[in-house]
Amino acid sequence: MEEAIAHNLQHARRTKSVALIICLSALCIGTNYAMMPLSNIKLMDTIVFTTGMVFGFVPGAAVAALSWLLYGTLNPLGFSAPVLGIVILSEMIYSYGGYIIGRTQHGGEPDVNGGMRRSVVLGTVGLFCTLVYDLLTNAVSGLLSYNSVWLGWMTMNFPIPLGIIHEVSNLFFFATLAPILLKVLRKLQQKAKQSEH
């Protein structure tokens, strides 16, 4: 009897995880399409990061993979399987970054005066995750398009400074939206835990 209850509980947890991953992926995809006219400005990175921070690396990586699989395939800008592969893997950097930050002192709820500091920390982590993401994806697309990593990096910010736009927008989103999203996701997590008892 106890075994059956434990099994059901585990099953319920898994179902909740899958539902959460699908909901957050839908949010990523929806915002990606909505923000299509704003080149390289996306909320997806912030969502993946906060998912990794609250629920761990695997759910965050799953949100990243699922979102990119759909958005990268049904994309008005075109489809490229090798590029899709590398953006899925690179997007997981955000989940890993979130997972790591979630395990430090900045992962918990900040005290009264700690909100500003946490925003700065999240913004900085967002900036560096984005920098690594841009360097990785541009290196691979440079190799595929020009057979040169350097040319890939050169085109990262030239002729249009897409890299800078991506990094600055993520710095802003991580510093301002990530704390709000963290609160929402933590509440969801708490509610899910309460319903188990």
């Binding site: 002192q105 500003m116 500091r117 700065v120 920390v121 913004g123 900085t124 900036l127 560096f128 920098l131 050169m154 910010n157 030239f158 002729p159 400074p161 890299g163 800078i164 990094e167 600055v168 710095l171």
Partner: protein, 156 residues
């Protein structure tokens, strides 16, 4: 973490972000500048194949004068056209069957006893031009001059 260390930590992060963003922006502007410089050189080379540059001196006879260096003109333009263009249309004259007689340049008239006389230079010596200014076709890099004088033996 103490409050003092807290402030420094936050400040350090802000500075790090600023450094990364400004470095990337500086790189972007450097690349834009390099590309613009290349485009300028290519455009100038294209322009050189379609135009000439000439140096034009306008000397007023009282010792003062003005040099119009690197005046860019279409191939086949005359001295009169080039001077009119470079002075901004401040060349006036009268047309005769033999050619145009220039009576005023840059507001300075030459209707006697001093007249506007044209010269060409090889870089060391001025030579009087014995052709009407609209019939004298300029060549690449040519140095020409207008001199307001009453003595044709004088040179600018």
């Amino acid at each position: 973490m103490s409050k003092g260390r807290d402030v420094w930590f936050t400040l350090a992060l802000v500075m790090t972000c600023t450094t990364v963003i400004t470095s990337a922006t500086a790189l972007y502007y450097y690349m834009s500048y390099s590309a613009s410089e290349k485009r300028y050189a290519v455009t100038l080379a294209d322009l050189d194949s379609l135009t000439f540059t000439a140096k034009i001196l306008v000397k007023y006879g009282n010792g003062s004068g003005v040099w119009y260096n690197q005046t860019r003109i279409p191939i086949g333009w005359s001295l009169l056209q080039a001077t009119n263009k470079t002075t901004g249309g401040k060349v006036f004259g009268q047309r005769y069957s033999l050619g145009t007689f220039v009576t005023e340049i840059n507001g300075v008239s030459g209707n006697g006893p001093k007249y506007w006389i044209t010269y060409s230079s090889n870089g060391t010596r001025w030579v009087l031009l014995e052709t009407a200014p609209e019939q004298y076709i300029l060549r690449q890099g040519e140095i020409v001059g207008w001199y307001l004088t009453d003595d044709w033996n004088k040179t600018p």
